[in-house]
């Protein structure tokens, strides 16, 4: 049986209690995207400032409210992408989603399936603190709490790319 300590790792509680990069950024140059989890009312507001010259995340700020998992995941995401090149950020999103779904397919007992593709997404990507969130997959209803920030980030990247195109 998965215990609470699998879900609420100390690093997660730390990000929940002391979220990093809280605040707002002027729009523009930053891009603002809101993400909602309609089921539980979790809300993520993401300000993403991308430097078009270097294609780097110049700055990121977050606001919103929600459960510890959604808010910690948002905080960890902000710390992980700040100052990183967009290519790495996109790779990180894929890796994080793979982390969430690999365990999902393991839970459903089809370990063979497309698990190898997902493993490939993870290969060579340093998740660091984010690995603490892998316990979430043992609590399937909470996975969407963890992925909310990342889906919102994906949307912000897509909209930023469109705006610059």
């Amino acid at each position: 049986m998965a215990g609470l300590e699998d879900l609420y790792r100390e690093i997660i509680l730390d990000h929940y209690r002391s979220p990093r990069n809280r605040g707002e950024l002027p729009v523009p140059p930053a891009h603002k995207v809101e993400g909602f989890n309609p089921l539980c009312g979790d809300e993520v507001v993401l300000y993403l400032d991308v430097d078009p010259e270097s294609d780097m995340v110049r700055d990121v700020k977050i606001a919103g409210q929600g459960c510890s998992i959604s808010q910690a995941s948002t905080s960890m995401m902000s710390a992980a992408v700040k100052g990183r090149p967009l290519a790495e950020v996109r790779q990180l999103i894929r890796a994080f989603k793979a982390l969430m779904s690999i365990h999902e397919s393991k839970l459903e007992g089809d370990g063979e399936g497309d698990g190898s593709d997902l493993a490939a997404e993870l290969a060579g990507v340093r998740l660091g603190d984010l690995e603490a969130l892998q316990g979430v997959v043992k609590f399937p209803v909470r996975i969407k709490c963890a992925t909310l920030a990342w889906n919102t980030l994906q949307q912000a990247l897509d909209e930023t790319a469109q705006a610059q195109a």
């Binding site: 609470l4 539980c40 009312g41 459960c67 609590f139």
Partner: protein, 411 residues
């Protein structure tokens, strides 16, 4: 009135013997859906095993038995809410469908652009969205009775809200706050303005003796699964003359008297509103559930829940003081057994996750009442709700598990 013997009564509910995470199941989510007693499980099993057939069709023995059981269930449900006639009970899929039936049949035949419908800020989505859909389609105006600081309806502006209204659609008991609304004076006020009254009694009927004649409302919706019966069946009560004047809702078999290539004529009420094969076994279960409750006595059920809710409100306040906010009336008077609360700084989902470790089942979220949550200024609450099979030990288990959650997330 004989007081309920809860220890004995718990044994009627097989699921309460189950262990989760090695702990005794503490089920505090009956406002969402209630557990089922053996009497209901056995009645449904018996129907499936011994006399299951489609109803109102076959002339063979078991078809007649199934039809008789289905119509007997209708009489039992009618009696349970003191409806004058069994035909005034229409079986629907749930309370939501009962409300939609009124929105599609009565409202679309009678309301036009500029007409107003009065709702309240404490309505469940099932008594909000059907009217919003109608408003968008027909240009009907929606007006809202606001919430007072004591979590009751603010009726100070009721007459102005009802002026020119065609319908008042209101909950008898809030699924979030537990607030009981006094229906009779609301119905009298609405009728004085020429408006009809629909009561969402989904939370009320399972817990308080209900007399539709005393309420003097026009439509009353409730479901089976919140009153110990199965899912998949609910009921709409309305006055016979209203039902007879209303156009049908869904078209199909059973609801017709005759069908020709150029049209159809409708069956009598209630079958006019029951197109297709209904939930036959579920109706039998619904009937068994109201039999079970009637045998215990609804006054005894209510007395037990008043006492238990009082115990819970006091225990929560004593143990957690200011760190826990209760969203609902503070006294047990005119209040049901749904208790919504929030810890300072701890999200409702995290609370219920910790509670699950101790097999304490509570609901966390917006409880399908997002307009109300916005009024309260919170994204979600945790809700414990009580029924006849809960006792003080269940409340104690809740309080202990909450203390654990508070400690776990201590900032």
């Amino acid at each position: 009135m004989t007081a309920l013997d809860i220890a004995k009564l718990k044994r009627d509910f097989p699921i309460l013997e189950r262990k989760v995470n090695g702990k005794r199941l503490v089920y505090l989510d009956s406002a969402s859906s209630a557990q089922k007693p053996l009497a209901v499980l056995n009645a449904m099993d018996e129907c499936h095993r011994n006399y299951y057939a489609n109803i109102h069709r076959g002339v063979y023995t078991i078809a007649e038995e199934a039809t008789a059981a289905f119509e007997a269930a209708r009489r039992k449900v009618a009696q349970f809410v003191n409806a004058p006639r069994a035909e005034e009970i229409i079986f629907t899929r749930n309370a939501t469908e009962a409300i939609n039936l009124v929105a599609y049949s009565w409202a679309r035949a009678n309301l036009r652009a500029g007409d107003a419908i009065v709702l309240s800020h404490m309505e469940h989505h099932s008594n909000v969205v059907p009217w919003q859909m109608l408003a968008a389609e027909r240009g009907v105006e929606l007006r809202w009775i606001p919430l007072a600081p004591d979590f009751r309806l603010d009726l100070s502006n009721l007459d102005a809200l009802l002026d020119g209204a065609r319908l008042l659609a209101i909950s008898a008991m809030s699924n979030v706050l537990g607030t009981i609304n006094d229906i009779r004076p609301l119905a009298d006020a609405a009728h004085a303005h020429g408006a009809l009254v629909l009561v969402d009694a989904c939370q009320y009927v399972p817990h308080v003796a209900t007399d539709v004649q005393q309420w003097d409302a026009d439509f009353i919706a409730f479901s089976s699964h919140k009153l110990l019966g199965p899912t998949g069946i609910g009921a709409l009560w309305s006055r016979l003359e209203l039902l007879e004047a209303m156009p049908p809702f869904l078209g199909g078999g059973e609801m017709i008297r005759d069908v020709r290539l150029d049209g159809f004529t409708t069956n009598d009420v209630p079958w006019k509103f029951e197109a297709g094969t209904p939930a036959i076994v579920e109706a039998v279960g619904f009937g068994a559930a109201v039999d079970y409750l009637s045998a215990l006595g609804m006054d005894a059920v209510r007395a037990h829940e008043v006492s238990l809710t009082g115990y819970a409100l006091e225990a929560l306040r004593d143990r957690f003081g200011e760190s826990l906010t209760i969203y609902g009336p503070t006294g047990v008077d005119r209040r049901g057994g749904a208790v919504s609360f929030l810890f300072d700084g701890i999200h409702a989902h995290d609370v219920s996750q910790v509670l699950d470790e101790d097999a304490v089942c509570v609901r966390a979220g917006h409880h399908c009442a997002k307009p109300l949550m916005r009024q309260l200024g919170v994204p979600a609450t945790t809700r414990a709700s009580f029924y006849l099979y809960n006792d003080e030990a269940d409340v104690d288990a809740l309080v202990e598990a909450l203390a654990k959650a508070q400690k776990f997330f201590a900032v």
